[in-house]
């Protein structure tokens, strides 16, 4: 813990070095038919790059099949990505030997959607929280017990009342607090929260979100906060990344992503959020997105969103849009970014119905 503490105090001096740096990460899985013959490849995560600074919260939104959870697991090397790089405080995790990887992974913990799934039902709360301390041989028994009480206090559970309980004697919110206490036990710098409040009721959800916020400010934690609900993600994040079918389609400061969304998929996500104010006229979601999610085994050519995009033109089928910076820290991968006609792909073929010439790729590069 001493090493981590010193690294953390050093953060001020190394502002420019990101805590986490993911570059060109690719994760693919082979699907086999019943005879065991390769039937295809699931392109779960394709060439995703992002950075996370110490103490920063990066929200990651996307729907089923967007690859957001696969990306989280690939960051933790569980399983390692097919290609690409994951650097934690400058240390490359891809290809790291098991012992050193375990040590490095101490700094990154994970909180999942279903707290009960991550807590052994036979164990008591106290033992569940102590377990990571034991496996990393932190302190002696008395010291560990003191630390467990500290951790339970930190997540708002009275150790005297909850310490001896088993998971089935906890509510969903309490169980998630135990899971968070476990994640905090080894004093991590980054917590990956994968849909941490999706299974909780509205009021309990607000309690747990507020807890995560308090921990962030008190402990200087960074979060990679994964959820399908853009309003929720925006509430907790400094920056937000949007994924669609394995691709990063937009990333930017939370406020500007909401005020000036650039990618049509982000616009569709925003339109899908039911407003808790009946006076606000809803934009029918059918105007912003159509059809069904294509298979990740055979993703569409060019832009993967084009089959559902109301703005799609011919160029979108032939040329994959690169991630481009259109405002301060705000990038999108779209030929025809929303509200930015000045940044539309300069291709006369795209403006007229005629098919575009093959030279478009060269012009983009």
């Amino acid at each position: 813990m001493g090493v981590l503490a010193s690294l953390r105090t050093g953060d001020q001096g190394v502002v420019n070095e990101p805590l986490l740096e993911v570059s060109n990460l690719v994760q693919e899985f082979t699907v086999r038919d019943r005879g065991g013959v390769k039937a295809g490849t699931v392109h779960a995560v394709s060439e995703v790059s992002l950075e996370l600074a110490a103490g920063e919260t990066l929200g990651l939104v996307g729907e089923t099949g967007s690859g957001k959870s696969t990306l989280a697991r690939a960051i933790l090397q569980a399983p390692p990505p097919k290609s690409g790089s994951v650097r934690l405080r400058g240390v490359e995790l891809v290809g790291l030997k098991r012992a050193r990887l375990t040590e490095a992974r101490r700094q990154v913990q994970m909180v999942f959607q279903d707290p009960f799934g991550s807590l052994d039902p036979k164990w008591r709360v106290r033992d569940l929280v102590e377990e990571p301390l034991i496996s990393f041989k932190v302190g002696d028994r008395t010291g560990r017990r003191r630390r467990v009480d500290e951790l339970l206090d930190l997540v708002g559970l009275d150790p005297a009342r909850f310490g001896a309980r088993r998971p089935r004697e906890l509510s969903g919110g309490q169980a998630q607090r135990v899971a968070i206490a476990r994640a905090l036990a080894l004093d991590p710098a980054l917590i990956i929260c994968d849909e941490p409040v999706s299974s909780l009721d509205v009021l309990i959800r607000a309690q747990v979100l507020n807890l995560l916020e308090r921990l962030r400010t008190e402990l200087g934690l960074a979060y990679l906060f994964i959820a399908h609900d853009l309003a929720l993600v925006k509430q907790v994040s400094d920056r937000v990344a949007v994924m669609y079918l394995g691709k990063l389609v937009e990333i930017g400061p939370a406020q500007s992503l909401y005020r000036e969304p650039l990618h049509p998929y982000t616009v569709a996500l925003l339109a899908s959020i039911p407003s808790p104010d009946p006076a606000v006229a809803r934009r029918p979601v059918a105007e912003t997105i159509r059809g069904e999610l294509p298979s990740p085994i055979d993703p569409p050519s060019g832009c993967r969103f084009r089959t559902r995009c109301p703005r799609a033109q011919d160029v979108c089928a032939t040329v994959e849009p690169p991630l481009r910076k259109l405002a301060d820290g705000h990038l999108t991968a779209c030929h025809f970014p929303v509200g930015r006609e000045d940044a539309a792909t300069p291709d006369p073929g795209a403006l007229e119905p005629a098919p575009l010439p093959g030279g478009a790729r060269g012009r983009l590069a």
Binding site: D201, A206, I273, D277
Partner: protein, 338 residues
């Protein structure tokens, strides 16, 4: 589609629930899951039943369908087109369930038979309610229903199995099955909760469209007050088995009276909020429904609680035109002398 022989609209709604109680007897304990619920659903309208897990919204709707386990004891009254459903013999209930009142559940994967093609499952539902219809006619009607719920490529999909469809498409199949008998009331129990956000919005838009085109009434059960704001004509907020606030949607959101409704509304993350702003979160958890309740069930968590709330449960009454609430200290109103 609206060829149902519609009964003349009486003074009552399509569905009138009055003083409904549901007790579960388990291991010597009595859990009162629904505690004196009263509300109506007018024809061709959407009522949102809103509350957290365990508030009784699902149990009360299953009571309407007589789909509760044997350990449940249902008292009070559920009148559908004037006919009392509480205590109705199962044989007679079967003529109501499905054909008059249908239900769509949260998890379409579990409600569909994985071994049967979806066309066969929709056709079966049509036959169940009209045994005279020929096989060919039933199949045509099934394709019609699939088109009605906007399943893409309906004819080709007819021979698909459930696992070949996405979650959103499976929920469309469930809705097609529910509509097979042209019910007058559809109960959607968290029908979009398990779906992705854009799919949820698509299915909600579909349900609203069908409800309007078919003149069907809809009970929308959800934990999401935001969804109710967008899609319901009237909202009933439930807490601990009781109704705590009820009003036409616009009125409810403009003048929230019950602190619990306020708490639900304030706990929803809003896009307008700047990053890292704290949500207002009331502490604690809903009460244990197995223990005897004295006073207002929300009083242990309520920011406006007084001694009176702990001792006397406030009545759930119409306190402004069309607006009912159960609270001694309603939001936005001067506390009336107690």
């Amino acid at each position: 589609m609206t060829t149902n022989g519609v009964a003349p609209a009486g003074p009552e709604g399509l569905l009138d629930v009055a003083d409904l109680r549901v007790d579960f007897h388990q291991a010597g304990r009595v859990v009162r899951a629904v505690d004196g619920l009263t509300y109506s659903v007018p024809r061709a309208r959407t009522v949102g039943l809103i509350g957290e897990s365990g508030c009784g919204k699902t149990v009360s709707s299953r009571a309407i369908m007589a789909l509760l386990p044997e350990s449940a004891r249902v008292t009070g009254s559920i009148r559908f087109e004037g006919r009392e459903l509480v205590g109705l013999a199962e044989r007679k209930m079967r003529a109501v369930r499905g054909s008059q009142i249908a239900m769509v559940f949260q998890d379409p994967a579990r409600s569909l038979n994985p071994t049967l093609r979806i066309g066969a499952q929709i056709t079966e539902a049509i036959h169940l309610h009209d045994s005279d219809v020929s096989k060919a006619a039933a199949q045509d009607r099934a394709v019609e229903l699939m088109e009605l719920v906007r399943l893409p490529a309906a004819r080709e999909r007819f021979r698909s199995y459930p696992h070949q469809l996405s979650g959103g498409m499976r929920q469309r199949v469930m809705i097609a099955i529910a509509l097979a008998a042209q019910p007058k009331l559809l109960i959607a129990d968290e029908a979009t909760t398990a779906l992705d956000v854009t799919t949820q919005a698509q299915i909600m838009e579909l349900l609203r469209d069908l409800q309007q085109r078919l003149g069907m009434a809809l009970i929308m059960i959800s934990h999401d007050l935001g969804l109710a704001a967008s899609f319901a004509d009237e909202v009933l907020v439930m807490y601990a088995g009781r109704g705590v606030e009820r009003a036409p949607t616009r009125k409810l959101f403009e003048h929230v009276r019950m602190p619990y409704t306020r708490a639900l509304l304030d706990a929803i993350p809003r896009l307008e909020n700047p990053p890292h702003s704290a949500l207002s979160a009331v502490p604690g958890q809903p009460p244990d429904l197995a223990s005897k309740q004295v006073g207002c069930p929300f009083s242990p968590r309520c920011p406006s609680v007084t001694e009176k709330c702990r001792e006397h449960a406030p009545p759930f009454e119409e306190q402004e035109r069309d607006h009912l609430w159960a609270c001694w200290h309603p939001c936005g109103l001067e506390t009336k002398g107690s």
